[in-house]
Symmetry: C2
């Protein structure tokens, strides 16, 4: 290793160290950073200066007295320059959310579109248009989007970017998924895992939970000690195909009586009956608000099925908390109670305390937020690349 290479590696490590502490602490003075990191004050000042220049860090304007009486201005992560984009392909919509480095959502763009049985190339072309216009709008408000992650409702091989199975899209072994051409790198990941990460970074602050994403399909993401549990092939969390009733209606996955057939969006709307095509969950919510008996019965049945599947999940993976997201967030007033009762009835003898069932604050946005959040995590963990660019 030459001396220059060694110096660059050390600088990269120290930039990550300083930015990580700023991010973890919210706001902090240079003097405090020197004390925390053990780096010399002049080194910290140089690193902070570089981070400010690159737009990753900004002075807060708050001056604090130092330990030895020398006042210093606090710095924090800047939300004013660098941003990430979270993209989502779902069965009945596309979405693009721009999130700044300080983790504020700055732009939300969604487009209703029926992607059932659509060709991957056509869907990606639509998504690329949506993403490009969001990136342009971001420029207009002073943001530079530096990376993106794309959420898809299917099993994803992360190493190759292949979508193995997305039964509700009709996709199978798309090797690799073509990605939108954007002026920065984009990766693909599973929607339910990203939604769980969205809940971790933007949600209620739990670090051990099972996040349930109710959509046309039903997925789940397990977070253990702040880290996602993905399984041996990366295909864990397919809650939608947990068996509710082994002789029940056939499912696109090849099984029968899967949770998705009782509590997925299509099943729920079909059970509620008479909701005009395209009205979707909004139509169901209107009927529920009006006290419609079919709609209430459909939610009761979906909540019961979700409780049965979750009792199997709790027995198997023992999560700290259960967070219901996606369509289950707006439907929570009608399904939360029956889910909790079903869990209590099936688990109460085995456990002193049944995991609490909570509603996600993020709802359908969790996956795109988790997607953008992954980009932000990577920048915080290794900012050097952005400074040299």
């Amino acid at each position: 290793m030459t001396q220059a290479v060694r110096h660059d590696a050390m600088r990269a490590r120290n930039l990550a160290l300083v930015l990580g502490e700023v991010s973890a602490r919210g706001s902090v003075t240079r003097a405090a950073l020197a004390e925390i990191t053990g780096l010399a004050k002049t080194t910290v000042s140089k690193l902070v200066g570089d981070l400010i220049e690159a737009g990753l860090v900004v002075e807060t304007g708050v001056v604090r007295a130092g330990e030895r009486g020398r006042p210093g201005m606090e710095v924090r992560v800047s939300g004013e320059r660098i941003a990430a984009i979270g993209l989502e392909i779902n069965v009945d919509y596309l979405a693009a959310h721009v999130v700044d480095l300080a983790r504020s959502v700055r732009l939300r763009r969604t487009q209703p579109v029926d992607n059932r049985m659509a060709q991957p190339g056509d869907v990606i072309a639509n998504l690329q248009d949506l993403a490009l216009s969001a990136v342009d709008e971001a420029v207009d408000i002073g943001l530079r989007v530096v990376g993106g992650v794309l959420a898809v409702p299917g099993t994803v091989d992360l190493a190759t970017g292949t979508v193995r199975r997305a039964p509700n899209l009709g996709w199978r072994d798309v090797t690799p998924l073509p990605l939108p051409r954007l002026p920065f790198p984009v990766r693909v990941d599973n929607e339910a895992n990203l939604a769980a990460l969205g809940e971790l970074w933007f949600g209620a602050g739990h670090r051990d939970f099972l996040h349930v994403s109710g959509e046309i399909g039903v997925g789940a993401g397990l977070i253990v000690g702040g880290e996602p549990f993905r399984g041996f092939h990366g295909f864990a969390g397919e809650l939608g195909h947990v068996v509710v009733s082994p002789g029940g209606p056939p499912c696109r996955c090849g099984g029968q009586g899967c949770l998705e057939r009782y509590a997925g969006q299509d099943a729920l709307l079909a059970a509620a009956a008479g909701i005009e095509a395209g009205a979707g969950i909004a139509g169901l919510l209107a009927r529920l608000d009006a006290g419609d008996q079919d709609a209430l019965a459909a939610c009761e049945r979906a909540g019961w099925a979700l409780g049965v599947a979750l009792s199997s999940a709790v027995n198997l993976v023992d999560p700290g908390t259960i967070v219901l997201g996606g369509i289950y967030a707006p439907l929570f007033p009608w399904i939360g109670g029956v889910v909790t009762e079903t869990l209590a009835a099936r688990l109460g003898e085995m456990r002193e305390v049944v995991p609490s069932v909570e509603v996600s604050r993020l709802g359908a946005e969790a996956a795109t937020l988790g997607a953008a959040g992954q980009v932000i995590q990577r920048i915080i963990a290794d900012p050097a690349g952005l400074l040299n660019a």
Copy 2:
């Protein structure tokens, strides 16, 4: 820290380093150990000498030429002095296995006894007698048992040694479980987790798998990258209470239609009908060998239910391999096929490859081997205590 304390801490660390390398490599010369660990040759010779004197390591008799032409004798972990005991309380038997430090099983003692609804104190008194006689027999063959772990078929709070729920024993919040009085420390842990560790350390060599322990109850242990996955409260792996059919027969856990009611030992024997009390699995195996139709149908039904529950487990946790142990090991010829077929039918559309279903080589011994194995792992990781004793 005084200099003496610092020296002791460094010696303890180096003893662990040397013993760990000897254990991982099977057999190795002192010169090679010096090269691997970076310790001075004289330091390694002193440490190896101390490990030999304490009976943890022994010379193999094989002399290898050193790199610089100086021959050296190889050493390996000794199975001749130090041992651990694995203990098990199950619903219809007690067991005690003595395993030496080189991981050979030296003594197997089991005692059939009906522990249903027995008081914990009475069961522990019986187990203590069994354990003490095993420890005495171990002394007769030159072994010194230095620690034990006790496997129980229920949820265990490891921090307090409390058995939370053991529904098939009728135990609930035994706080803490009284432990057998033996001349060394004993801890308690969950049977299914220990059985999975037994498979990891004494089985077919997988490092990512779900091990299923079929007994009166059905438990599972998930091993991820060689480490057990225990869940937030330590209660993961309750496969026996995964829902097979939500309106099925009531279960001791409070639920209905749990796997245990279809594929647990009691359910299996009841379904086979006409097996005399006490004949247990041996009686069923005799009937299966004779081609008895009721017995074959009972296994078919149990295997189907196991396949349904495992399809939910695969969807949720995505294990690398499934290993069937406990009573499912001797029953494998009659249930393995239907389990595999049920999994393939329910998972085949979602996955390119369905996890393979294998038979455990250890069968009902997995839990006691895992229990003894835990003691051995701890000795290898920190041998200093034994040298000072």
